[in-house]
Symmetry: C2
Subunit: 656 residues, 2 copies
Amino acid sequence: MKKHKVLFLPYNKEINVEDGGNLIRAAMEAGVHINASCGGEGLCGKCRVVIERGSVEGGITEKLSGEDLEKGIRQACLASVKQDVTVRIPVESTVDPDVLNKQSTPRYTARIRQINLEELKERGLFVPPVEKKYLELPEPTLQDNLPDVTRLVSYLKLKHNEHRLEVDLSVIRKIPDLLRKDDFRITATLARPVHEGGKTRIINIQSGDTTDLNYAIAMDVGTTTIFGQLIDLKTGKTLAQHGDFNGQISYGEDVISRIVYSAKPGGLEKLHSIVIKTINGVIRRIIRDAGIDPDEISTITLAGNSTMTQLMLKVDPCHIRLSPYVPAATLYPPIKAVEIGMDLGDHVTALVYPAVSSYVGGDIVAGVMGSGMYRAEELILYMDIGTNAEIVVGNKDWLACAACSAGPAFEGGGIKNGMRAAKGAIEDFSMDPVTLEPMNMTIGNVRPKGICGSGLITIVAMMLEMGVINNLGKYDRDLYTPRIREVDGVYEYVLAWAKETQIGRDISLTEPDIDNLIRAKGAMYSGYMTLFEEVGIGVKDIDRIILAGGFGSYVDLEKAMIIGLLPEVDPDKVTFIGNGSLMGAKMSSLTNRIRKDVVEVTRKMTNFELSETASYMDNYVAALFLPHTNIDQFPKLKARLEERKAVLYTDELKKK
Amino acid sequence: MKKHKVLFLPYNKEINVEDGGNLIRAAMEAGVHINASCGGEGLCGKCRVVIERGSVEGGITEKLSGEDLEKGIRQACLASVKQDVTVRIPVESTVDPDVLNKQSTPRYTARIRQINLEELKERGLFVPPVEKKYLELPEPTLQDNLPDVTRLVSYLKLKHNEHRLEVDLSVIRKIPDLLRKDDFRITATLARPVHEGGKTRIINIQSGDTTDLNYAIAMDVGTTTIFGQLIDLKTGKTLAQHGDFNGQISYGEDVISRIVYSAKPGGLEKLHSIVIKTINGVIRRIIRDAGIDPDEISTITLAGNSTMTQLMLKVDPCHIRLSPYVPAATLYPPIKAVEIGMDLGDHVTALVYPAVSSYVGGDIVAGVMGSGMYRAEELILYMDIGTNAEIVVGNKDWLACAACSAGPAFEGGGIKNGMRAAKGAIEDFSMDPVTLEPMNMTIGNVRPKGICGSGLITIVAMMLEMGVINNLGKYDRDLYTPRIREVDGVYEYVLAWAKETQIGRDISLTEPDIDNLIRAKGAMYSGYMTLFEEVGIGVKDIDRIILAGGFGSYVDLEKAMIIGLLPEVDPDKVTFIGNGSLMGAKMSSLTNRIRKDVVEVTRKMTNFELSETASYMDNYVAALFLPHTNIDQFPKLKARLEERKAVLYTDELKKK
């Protein structure tokens, strides 16, 4: 796509923006602050900028006078970049340019890594677990009256070199009629064994040549959300994707409350049927969106945490919750999709990702497989950040994993104005170093409704760098701005005034909110540091960090390091794979080899029960500071904070 | 059991009889004729005998006067042998003793062969396809929190050296609760793979030690009758057996009419559900009779002909009937018993015997396996005689098979007074060489209702030897006896007068009845002779004949040779295995090795389509004589008939 250069003055920061890109987003991306509290809906009218060279599309509202317009003033949040342009942000002339240039680190999100189909093909690994083979069989005669199945099997051997075949009863039931429907022209669907030496199963037959129509479904069965992808096994491409909230949410937000509910009479059956209902809804939707014949779906691969997996398979999860935290199983046999209630053909096999333990589930294993971590030479830290966070460290030789409960802060839970990453959530933020005015960016560019996890991290990190909060997460009592106030003895910063929000109330960030975030990031930090200690490595040994989970996509890496959530490493070492669970499920749909490797990998993954590891609590307590009790663990931040202190720009705002 | 000697005078024939044995049956067994037309119910009063030494129990009726009783006269059909005894049969004094001694060959039924459990155990083959293993598992701790399934699998490896295990979803569903029910004491049911290198499946778990309770069902799914056995897998013993008529009978007597019905709308589903209903009835009955807990049944093995197998599995059988006679499959995968509607636990696997072709089905393969024919060094002819007769010839090195349609005569079909082998059927017969009076023995010793297959053979053979019929099966028109008469142009012999029967009508054998039998035996004879020619052997090469089928148990071997149904061989070479299909199913329940071998055996069994073999019709036409156009093929009979001619005892009965 065409890109345009945008130069922001007086900061002299330049950034490449895609054609039609939003101007205020471009500023945020470049680390340039523009006051904006309405989330980009054009309501507050604060984001006035001057177009000095070139022009933008839009950005004209009734808040701007004719004179303004003549001067080149536009509202950045409503302006689109269609050519190279120079934009000046109006700032108070008295401000020291040094301050301006240190106002923020540029936005730095992780590089997104996806499945490399071409590489798979080159390595000869694009071999899906189900394949179709077309045959034109000779018609039987008295001299050659082989049974129908024997005829099929013999010619699969003869024409396609297929050996060790076995056949499902459903195929035997279909074959007499089907063979004679199109003059013994037939397509057989073959399900590959996990292990060499295993048998290939003929799971379906169709008349004529349908080899071009072969689809798989990959699905991430999450506690909150269920995502499905419809994959064309001929090309490897994803034809449709859809996510929906897990219907079980009304029975509890987290896995623990689901487990509790499942112990009630009929509870397990209820939660099982509800998650299957959601799954079936997603299946229907992606089938419709892809516009394919559902009978052409050959396989479904599902990944989920241990509790979700057990509920999906109607296996009582109660011992997951009780010490010593024992799941029923970690390895599941191939299951007929219809057997667990899925609206799919009776030939479809459901492949369920194996787990490691009660709290390191199939979703994480899928991420380890899908991201290729299990084949890596370099040492990798894999993190799926969320209420239940999972951490894996290792490479092709060894893997160690652990789970920790970070609490719901990363998903907006336990935060006064917290919310999930949905439309209206403040997901990005910047602060004017002089006026402490906010720049709120919301999902969907609408008036804010609340703050989501990635927004929370950015806000807190920004405030810490600005000196607005101290390393305990407390607001500087001496700063003067109407946005920092005390309400019923609780200090807070108002991100958006009631009239600028969708909720008709001020949206603010309170000190208890910050406390919750500190505890959450402390749990994460302590998790991987404890794991590092257990396996005898340090942050410096980590060659690469892989972030997974819905959360990771919007997190500004530098900000996450500033608050001490991520270890301080070169941001280039961090990649983001999005929904690792879904990625792994897709990978398994594309290459059967994964199914073989995964059994080995789960055996290799040594699980550490952090709650039983003595040093975990020490590490946790030490991490209850911003970024950490021992700032030396964050040398770059330490240097930056010291440099900042010298400037003391906030002095001008000190009360009195 | 205690035995007593019974000496029959004036024939001077002695026989050993079990304590309490019936006297007239003992005479029949010894080849001694006693007039008796009421089937042994005591009604006709003809079977008067004189007890000359010792005494019998019973045999006293109102038909005997006080004087009779004093003379030692008893009715043989109601007398039981309780000590050594000498019995005189009253005969006309004018009869030449030579005639008396040649009146009949002694009754000679085949030796019954059954599964030799001890031999199986000695050969190390008593390894059922499902076994139970008991374990006392350590309870999980925080240091040892293996998943439940992993714990089970690990300790099966450790304590019982079980490797390559896989687990069913149903077991995963049960394990969390079940492990904790009896302090981690558990019994696992293991289903063995067919092939070495395959996986052993854990199909069930039970709390505590239930290894003593492990049962299998073996079942013969016949066109007419369904037999089931309940087998104790701990001891190998059969605890209960039951047979019932296949409910499909009302939809057609033979496989062809069933196939025709199955092609009607809903016909396949109907016949499927009906046969399953019969199967479930038999299952319920043998469970009740054995007094076991149905949950302890681990496996069911079923054998049936190709049509019955396909109907049972709901696989359209229509192409079995149409040239080129192609079955849907001959090899079936293991199937969940519940999947085809059986009233058995959801862990129970149904193993279905493979077939060779449309007309050499799993029942015959089961017989070949169960009888051990496939392991034999000697050359064996295996025959399952019935409407659809199957023939196998060969040994451990090669096997050739064929099927032929003999028609229903052997089962009493197409015979004026024919009936199945049920209570009241004349199953054995002898004829007074002088008076031509009959000695009818019926099943159940009740008044006759009709003639069953084995009775028919004996009657026709006896009449041929007596010269009552010629080698075309026509009655000698010159004989004088009221029992031979012409009714509406058809000659017949009256076996029992209306007043002596249950049906209130005369029971007779007509010339068309004899024609039907000749055609049936001609088809059988031609079947094996054609097969012999195809593989290049002769009758003299046969080391052993195995007869299978309900039919074989009562057939007098010498009689079957006289009419040319069996080749003339030493009767000692003939063994009878009863229901070969059931025997094979039982054998598979006892030794998993059979399942491995059977695949090889079905591959080895070369099928000959007799209807497509030119010489079959020539052989058939040549066999439409008693015993055969070429009497030299029956040298012993030829000698006997010639000897008999010299006596000419029937001359006295010649008319005029």
